[in-house]
């Protein structure tokens, strides 16, 4: 029989957070702020103290953004066992340390104790569901990845994906649930190690590590180069649409024709792919789709307006 959710998305009220470090505690703060009951279980001794401190820290920014009706910090409880934490949960978010053997064991434990109609999401930074759920015996159909970015209570993105045995309905239910919690949901079609956000972030991070190791730049220079440069643009548009605007009225097509040859230059240690006609077409069509009829000039106006707002916000003006 196909997998069926225990409750519709709109009826979900109780969330269990298994593993409560910076990420698990951050999830707890978010779910509380969105009006859910949250039960935390973590095997470490000082978990309750750490999570309460983290939630207290997060509550001010979350309040500034606006809390859901009925949201309250005292709807946070701590369970003595994993089984207690998940027994009546409507959704489970696992945030154990990033080790494959540990993830496999914890996810199998959670699966055993959680009612079958409840989705179990892993915060893993890069493992796929298929490789993590090898020891899951009861309901592999409800296992998904729900990968956030730190801090989960403020950064909108969550990347979700199922594995080979995951039911499409479970991924869809999780998407709806995260949207109810005000997340921006990216539902991936394929299991790619590192998903999308971390693959891109990691490429930049590895080049930064290489530059540090080679003495080409300092930590401070690397941070400044991103923070005062492309980082500002990425907060608004992402890399593709940003370059669409660098090409003038010709957009991405002009940009690729102008800067394409630079791909051969020894910028970064990552070898460039061939800029084939098909890849060029994918980029141009994709940017046209995102532009949705807006001219480059209209996009420039919008970017500049937002950049000014961002620069003012950043400087406290």
């Amino acid at each position: 029989m196909a997998w069926q959710p225990a409750v519709p998305v709109e009826a979900a009220r109780r969330v269990a957070c298994i593993g409560a470090g910076v990420i698990g505690g951050g999830w707890a703060a978010l779910f509380l702020a969105r009006g859910f009951d949250v039960t935390v279980w973590d095997p470490t001794d000082d978990a309750e103290q750490n999570v309460r401190r983290l939630v207290d820290l997060a509550w001010q920014p979350l309040s500034d953004l606006g809390l859901a009706d009925g949201a309250a910090r005292d709807r946070l409880t701590f369970a003595p066992t994993l089984e207690d934490a998940v027994a009546d949960a409507h959704f489970v978010q696992e945030s154990a340390p990033e080790r494959l053997d540990l993830k496999r064991r914890v996810l199998a434990d959670i699966d055993r104790a959680t009612p079958p109609g409840v989705v179990i999401a892993s915060s893993t930074s890069g493992y796929g569901v298929t490789e993590m759920e090898t020891e899951v015996q009861k309901v592999p159909e409800r296992m998904i990845v729900g990968h956030p970015f730190n801090p989960p209570y403020l950064i909108p993105l969550v990347e979700i994906a199922g594995g080979q045995r995951t039911a499409a309905e479970a991924v869809a239910w999780a998407g709806g649930f995260y949207r109810r919690a005000d997340k921006f949901v990216l539902s991936l079609q394929r299991e790619v190690p590192g998903f999308v956000g971390n693959r891109l972030q990691e490429a930049l991070w590895r080049e930064a590590l290489h530059m540090l190791a080679a003495g080409e730049a300092s930590v401070e220079e690397i941070d400044a180069a991103i923070r005062e440069g492309p980082g500002l643009r990425w907060a608004l548009m992402g890399p593709c649409l940003t370059f669409h605007l660098a090409g003038g009225a010709g957009g991405m097509a002009y940009m690729l024709d102008h800067f394409g040859p630079s791909l051969e230059a020894p910028w970064t240690r990552l070898t460039a792919p061939d800029l084939t006609e098909a890849l060029r077409e994918t980029l141009v069509t994709g940017c046209d789709g995102e532009a949705a009829g807006r001219s480059v000039e209209a996009l420039v106006r919008q970017r500049d307006e937002q950049l000014v707002a961002l620069l003012k916000a950043r400087s406290g003006r």
Copy 2:
């Protein structure tokens, strides 16, 4: 005799912009807004029309940020020849198309026509001064790179660097001049292809191209993954200090010990460097330096406050 500037930084009043596409025109807008006289020369027929349009577009955001005393769009003029444009300039910004043969020729032409005490800066995205100034005969000592990010009138970063024949005084003068124009100056100690910002940006961009070519993600997914995820953090802190905050109270040291093993994972096509003891130390010490005595908790408070301001600014609230 050592190179000497024609005027002190504070006395510079006139800027020549040679080459006036999106970047050159953007520089013109910035210099006008900071109260300089700007003379543009570009060999294309519609350059004047395009630059005036670009300056008009940029003027509203620049006004929102605050214009310098006396700043005015009618202090923009167009020269009939390169020689006329640079004859009485106090600073020259070259923004010709990104082709090495062209850069060599244009920079040699500019050098011939520009008074010897005037710095000539190239907007090149990645070439070094040493490889660009091979045909410069008069004063190679004043040739520098002054690499902006689009749009130059709003993104603070400018990366500056000299070549093997550049005088340290010329680099220092340019740094002072750009700071007078409200730029954030990163003065590089070495000639590295792509400098710092573009090396890092390009690593991410190449991974994005690979993912597109392999059908692992769409243009829209790539942009959303950055814009709703790490891009928001990078606008505030850059990649190193961001990770310092992901480690909880243990900071960067904890982060490296926890996620170091993930460097071996096949996230991105860029091979990771060995996380040697020396590299670990460089990162930990660098982040401690940037933190400047602020605890991770204090940095988290600051990040969250700015993230909220940024999220509100982005959504127009």
